[in-house]
């Protein structure tokens, strides 16, 4: 029965209360462990298509008569458009359309960051369109930008209300502590740089607006576009069959979609608006930088008595102030916790969710301060974490639906035990060490999400749902789940997704939610189809339904009879069996979270400050693993992005003008294949018995969370230097080494805050 409930919905740590219709989840979970298909390595079902360049991405869509847009973006971090004249641009022969601030709501008269869109043109080619931008005449009044996050807090320039959280009594907790550590940690702004830039192709087909877009959320785009334009949502069709990466930055339509729509309206043609790589690095979102002022206190036995953090999220002009405080509040069993979080509104480009927003930054600060505490207490860092293990959720006082972090710790032991041997390989120049860091994150997914499945007369099944596969391998996971439940080989299942007009509502691909949201719906749809197939088989073979099942594409009876499934489905001729399924509710009164730990090994050249990461072992607890091969790829990918965040990536701004200096992939340093360490990946792989008919949680985000802290802690182990700022450039490394050296010379200063 459909049930109307009012529930909290969580995406990327942001909660909203909403009404949701849920259907009961009636299926029992499969027993733990690998099954015939689920839990076994499966090659990507769309692997060949993608590898051969046959997959059509938004970047490859070309519609008849399609025009190309180019966007005039503000060269100033803060300015006022005194006058704008599009006449010359409009008169240029190859220009078909031109729009300014009066024609489209995303075009700004008072641009508040460098890269804010001001005007746009459409022409027959992208090159012609870009040339025509020079024909737009603008008179700017350049204004003083606000660029310093601390200054923004002083001036109360906020994107969100400052957030205060407290439990217990932090002052008392600090007074009870035998050791207190304080420190300021900073993380840098990093850029998503998905290889397919943000882009949309829009056109009107009759009274329907078609939006082909590189997105993580087909339905969100549909609703936001429909609402903005005042259209009924079903007059907007959003399509994304293949997607070249998003990492959180492609959850909403963005300026480019609305610009393409406005120009399509003006010209009557299909219009592509695709960001260039430089625009991508300017105006498509970023992981905001943070300043974290942290205090941690513990008794001599390691019991945490107080944790407090002041977090400044340097958001930019717009965006959201992410849960940088999350790890401090959620990871450990500490009674006295206080966090204060400010979202600084600045004249810099708006942030966007980036793979575990807030938690990547917050875990760096928290897990580093914890290791500094361990060093002062002379306690083993892994032991310190065990002593403060939280057996229930302290934020909401709820039990966990499942938590196997102790299993992660146990599996981490052999990697942690390499410490002595690794350190022994140090020499005068290269110092080696091992560090670890824990991870907590959401990732339970939730309703509503729906899937259909049709089984044809040839016994092949097609899963139909309007979700998206942003590269995480969800198409493959859904095919595995459907094949497992239906009892047919994996190659008998196809997954059709990516089109809001051709399938039911499906989850956003963000917040590690696609598999835990969609998987149970797909399984329910397959079970519904299987039930019907068995009903038909029972009538065909004059047997009772309860003695029949389907396995490996065969209908099998308890007495040993077996018939190819096609014999049953063949009766349908060209008709089909249709199954439908819905995602059931999350367990009430429980907190659904993911956990893990990473152990990093590093080598530091103490003369030049060069840091080499040599090995990372990752152990994550995300419930049942659907596809161990794809899961491993997710973990490796997360760690490699984390490695970039830790060592090389940084968006640099001109401190005077606020302009972005790192707009190219030459200036902005992504990790390359040559930078990758040995990566070991393990899973606890225990289904969460309270969560859905699968017991699976999401895995997209957890692996990027602890990497930076594990590396920084390994550096401390190797050199005694405390890293306080990302990225760990040679400059930062040498600064930390010098500070450590000074501390060694002045032992009486121990206990004072680090420089």
């Amino acid at each position: 029965m459909a049930r109307l409930i009012r529930t909290e919905k969580e995406v990327e740590g942001r909660y909203t209360e909403q009404w949701i219709v849920v259907e009961e989840d009636v299926l029992e979970q499969w027993p733990a462990g690998p099954r015939g298909i689920v839990g076994r390595a499966a090659r990507r079902v769309d692997g060949h298509e993608r590898a051969r360049g046959q997959a059509t991405y938004t970047a490859d869509i070309s519609l008849p008569g399609m025009l190309h847009a180019a966007v005039l973006r503000s060269p100033h971090a803060r300015a006022r458009v005194k006058k704008i004249d599009l006449t010359k641009a409009r008169e240029t022969p190859w220009v078909r359309g031109a729009i300014g601030p009066d024609d489209c709501h995303v075009l700004e008269r008072e641009p508040s960051f460098q890269g804010a869109p001001v005007a746009a043109v459409a022409a027959q080619s992208a090159e012609r369109a870009r040339e025509a931008l020079d024909m737009i005449e603008v008179e700017w009044e350049v204004l003083e930008p606000l660029l310093d996050p601390d200054e923004a807090v002083r001036r109360e320039s906020f994107t969100d209300e400052p957030r205060l959280y407290a439990r217990g009594d932090v002052e008392r907790g600090q007074a009870e502590a035998d050791v207190v550590v304080e420190g300021e940690y900073r993380t840098q702004t990093v850029l998503h740089n998905a290889l397919e830039t943000h882009q949309s192709v829009c056109r009107w087909e009759g009274d329907t607006l078609e939006v082909y877009t590189s997105t993580q959320y087909i339905w969100g785009i549909r609703d936001e576009v429909a609402e903005t334009l005042g259209l009924p949502p079903d007059k907007v069709r959003v399509v994304c069959h293949f997607m070249g990466g998003g990492f959180g930055a492609k959850n909403s339509p963005g300026d480019y979609t609305f610009i393409a729509i406005a120009l399509a309206g003006q010209t009557g043609a299909a219009v592509r608006c695709a960001l260039t790589r430089r625009e991508e690095n300017l105006a498509s979102g970023n992981r905001n930088s943070t300043i974290q002022r942290l205090v941690a206190g513990a008794r001599s036995d390691g019991t945490l008595t107080a944790l407090s953090g002041e977090y400044i999220n340097a958001i930019g002009w717009d965006g959201f102030s992410g849960p940088t405080y999350g790890p401090m509040e959620m990871l450990y069993d500490c009674e006295n916790v206080r966090t204060q979080t400010f979202g600084a509104k600045l004249n810099t480009p708006p942030n966007a969710a980036f793979r575990a927003p807030g938690f990547v930054e917050g875990t760096f600060g928290l897990e580093c301060v914890l290791d500094e505490l361990a060093a002062k207490l002379d306690l083993d860092p892994l032991e310190l974490r065990r002593r403060n293990y939280a057996d229930h959720d302290l934020v909401e006082g709820r039990p966990f639906s499942s938590k196997n972090l102790l299993d992660c710790y146990r599996l981490a032991e052999p990697h942690w035990a390499r410490r002595k041997e690794v350190r022994a390989r140090s020499d005068d120049v290269w110092k080696r060490g091992v560090g670890l860091a824990s991870q907590v994150w959401y990732g339970g997914g939730g309703p509503p999400s729906y899937a259909w499945i049709r089984v044809g007369s040839d016994g092949r099944a097609t899963v139909v749902t309007a979700m998206q596969d942003i590269g995480t391998g969800t198409r493959t996971a859904m095919a595995q789940i459907a094949a497992e439940e239906l009892g047919v080989p994996l190659n008998q299942v196809r997954v059709e997704l990516g089109d809001s007009a051709r399938g039911p509502f499906a989850s956003i691909s963000a917040g590690s939610s696609t598999t835990p949201s969609m998987g149970p719906a797909v399984r329910a749809a397959a079970a519904d189809a299987k039930r019907q197939l068995i009903e038909i088989a029972a009538q065909r073979y004059h047997l009772e339904e309860r003695v029949l099942e389907i396995k490996d594409g065969q209908v099998i009876s308890a007495d040993g009879g077996s018939w190819p499934l096609e014999e049953v489905t063949g009766l349908l001729e060209d008709a089909q069996i249709l199954g439908k399924g819905a995602r059931g509710p999350n367990p009430t009164g429980m907190r659904v979270l993911t956990f893990g730990i990473q152990v990093a090994e590093v080598a530091v050249d103490v003369e030049t400050g060069e840091v080499r990461v040599e090995r990372i072992a990752a152990i994550h607890d995300v419930g049942r693993i659907i596809n161990p091969l794809g899961a491993k790829s997710q973990v490796e990918g997360g760690i490699i992005q984390g490695l970039g965040h830790t060592l090389s990536e940084e968006r640099l701004l001109d401190p005077q003008s606020g302009g972005t200096l790192t707009q190219t992939l030459d200036a902005y340093k992504l990790p390359t294949i040559a930078d990758v360490p040995e990566i070991i990946c393990e899973f606890v792989d225990k289904p969460d018995e309270h969560l859905t008919n699968l017991g699976s949680k999401g895995l997209g985000e957890p692996p990027i969370i602890p990497t930076a802290a594990a590396i920084a802690n390994a550096i401390r182990d190797a050199t005694g230097a405390d890293i306080h700022s990302l990225p760990i450039t040679r400059e930062e490394m040498l600064r930390a080494l010098r500070a450590a050296e000074e501390r060694r010379r002045e032992p009486e200063r121990v206990g004072a805050p680090p420089a």
């Binding site: 090659r43 769309d46 970047a59 293949f242 990466g245």
Partner: protein, 145 residues
């Protein structure tokens, strides 16, 4: 008019001066397997082979390749590397993958048994933001299956 051969077929193209090879392949010939991710020679997504040598098609001008043999991912559809990539799960979003395979195909042509080090050296100009690198290395080292 520029004459060139792409994947063994002859083409004649009438394109303005300044047309890049990537644009000609993608827009004029509809060979969209070659991706453009930066358009300025920094990422390797647009890699094609010119007489067997990997080049960045986004910064190669069409008018400089007249009479030469271009191999794109479409011409390598049956190359064992394609299977090797799928087997090793060497792709996630797949946007960098055609460029990766075109680079790797040139490598295994000249070095049929590449070591990990050789793969890391030869492929370091092909960025993958999804971080499929460990799998790519595995796929190329074990490309013959």
């Amino acid at each position: 008019m520029v004459e060139l051969r792409v994947n063994g077929h002859a083409y004649e193209l009438d394109a303005p001066v300044g047309r890049t090879l990537a644009e000609a392949l993608r827009l004029d010939l509809g060979l969209t397997g070659t991706k453009v991710a930066c358009g300025e020679g920094h990422c390797g997504a647009c890699t094609v082979q010119l007489d067997g040598v990997p080049v960045l098609s986004c910064i190669t001008l069409l008018h400089t390749v007249g009479g030469r043999e271009v191999t794109t991912i479409e011409g390598l559809a049956e190359h064992p590397l394609v299977d090797a990539f799928v087997r090793a799960d060497a792709l996630q979003c797949g946007f960098c993958t055609p460029g990766q395979i075109v680079s790797a195909a040139a490598l295994v042509e000249s070095t049929p048994q590449p070591t990990s080090e050789e793969v890391r050296h030869a492929m370091s100009g092909n960025l993958c933001r999804c971080g499929a690198y460990p799998r790519i290395e595995e796929a190329v080292v074990a490309w013959r299956g």
